[in-house]
Symmetry: C2
Subunit: 313 residues, 2 copies
DNA sequence: ATGAAAGCGCTAACAT
DNA sequence: ATGTTAGCGCTTTCAT
């Protein structure tokens, strides 16, 4: 592989002139430019990215930490991020965490080593205080409210929509509400927000035996319906963490020859539209786009979008 | 940020000794090692990845070119790739192509620039002959049969399963078969394989007006059913490119109060299991895992797995 | 076991 | 407008 020095030698110009040509800078005469470009073409030369990155002090890779599961939350977020990255010249590096703190810490160390110029956490097991310690080494964007921590945040403000959702259900005189969550009960801010909204509307906590976590798919919804229906047969509503999960619930009831309880989805996927049940759109695609944008900036920023309650007429 | 030279200076040892400590090499005395490690800890030093990569001549990034759409094919493949990459020390870089040849060419150029140490093409718009020209710059793995080209290949051998599928349908005395494809008709080897298998079984080509491409979702299936049913009302079977797409077809018929035609899926997703229609499992997760493995190797290799016909009893 | 020094290939400040 | 050269931070021969 020829280097910039080979081009310099063979063109009769210096390394810096070649560099100028490569980077389309000013102060290169037409003849110089042409001579250099001719040799470049002749030797089939391309500049080495590794050398460039070292010289520049950073590369153009943005790491995206995600638990590596298939929940639509991550898909939509990732699609938004990729969409924004597409024309930016930056690359998205997938960093699966499996919610493992050791792994997450390793990614933070890599940020410090300049293996990435920024990091986006779509979720994290590590406490925010730890993430904050690494913000000095590069932009760190969290897809949740980071409170007072010196960490950028781009997220969806869910509380109002959850509140509106439960008020809507209260209107419908629903009595026994099952709640399906993504992760295990207390772990995530999202779960807390749901529980808080529920309590605010109904003035009591959700029955523990009607709450299940770990839902990521249609099938999970199906199984959860089975389990919960066995526990309590008069459930008249399922508040779920995804339209497809709600659809799984419905399928179970239909397969049993029962009428489906009231369904409530999230993510505004196709199924809630087709089956005409209410859902919440958290605008994750938009969040992803913005998260990427912030990742490129050098300042700490906080943005929130409003989750949107969608009720079919 | 301290550099290796700072560590050398402050520890009283040379740069090379520090380097040896960092890389756990032989020929470092206990006292030297301890002295160096102490300073490393004191200065909170970590080696710079960019410098390492330049010195080593390559980085640990594997680019994965994919069209950036949501078809389960790419998800499953990507999941397999990520699964294999997880413990490897290598990173997966997402390279959306939108089937754009210019974009794909740019990724190949980046391979040449050593921005990636290998490239996996889950799909490509560029001809194989062009890809082959870049194989000299790094391992290139295609997820399809690459014939005689000097390109690694890891893919699923679909023909036999397609043949078996149509034979199965012939057994059922199906007459009017609609065919739903991923991309537009002639573009992909997959489409050709389907058409060839069809013709071999039924001794004539599929009716052109019963073939539609561009299917990626439930909704696409729904719309396609609508369109095709309007064109011809006696379709008695839909051979689709995905279980969820087949499910969309079914939904349309049900919504019209009609009985669903026979469905045939692909990808062996949950829906074919729940609704008990036949499907084909192309084992993309496994293909992805293997593709990654080959990406790390320096030799050109070809692997194929057998697609599997799955018929519920 | 340890160190000196020559790369790796490019950028950019400085000089002319 | 063009050239010289000192980095960028690490790895790796080659001496000692």
């Amino acid at each position: 592989m020829p280097t910039i020095r080979d081009i310099a030698r063979q063109s009769g110009y210096s390394v810096s002139t070649v560099s100028r040509v490569l980077n389309h800078q000013k102060y290169v005469s037409k003849p110089a430019q042409q001579a250099v470009e001719k040799v470049i073409k002749a030797l089939d030369y391309v500049p080495n990215s590794l050398a460039r990155d070292l010289s520049f002090g950073q590369n153009k890779n943005i790491g995206v930490v995600l638990p590596h599961n298939d929940h639509p939350y991550f898909n939509q977020l990732l699609n938004g991020i990729m969409d924004a990255a597409f024309t930016s010249g930056y690359h998205i590096v997938l960093l699966p965490s499996e919610y493992n703190q050791t792994v997450e810490l390793d990614y933070l160390e890599q940020l410090k080593r300049k293996n990435f110029s920024a990091l986006i956490f779509t979720s994290h097991g590590l406490p925010l205080s730890v993430l904050a310690q690494y913000a000095q080494y590069g932009q760190i964007v969290c897809c949740e409210d980071t409170g007072d921590y010196h960490l950028s945040a781009v997220y969806s403000n869910r509380e109002p929509a959850y509140l509106a959702a439960f008020k809507h259900l209260a209107t419908l005189k629903v009595r026994q509400i099952a709640i399906l969550l993504s992760r295990n009960l207390e772990q995530s801010p999202t779960s807390s927000a749901i529980m808080a909204a529920y309590q605010q509307v109904f003035h009591h906590k959700p029955a523990e035996k009607l709450v299940i976590g770990g839902m990521t798919s249609f099938n999970d919804g199906y199984q959860a319906a089975k389990t919960l229906h066995a526990r309590q047969s008069d459930i008249d509503c399922f508040f779920t963490n995804g339209d497809d999960i709600a659809t799984g619930v419905r399928q179970y009831y239909l397969d049993q020859g029962l009428t489906s309880p009231l369904l409530f989805g999230q993510e505004n996927q196709l199924s809630s539209f087709l089956l005409q049940f209410p859902t919440i759109d958290h605008h994750f695609f938009t969040v992803g786009q913005k998260a990427f944008e912030v990742a490129l900036s050098t300042e700490h920023q906080k943005f929130s979008f409003e989750s949107e309650l969608i009720v079919p007429k």
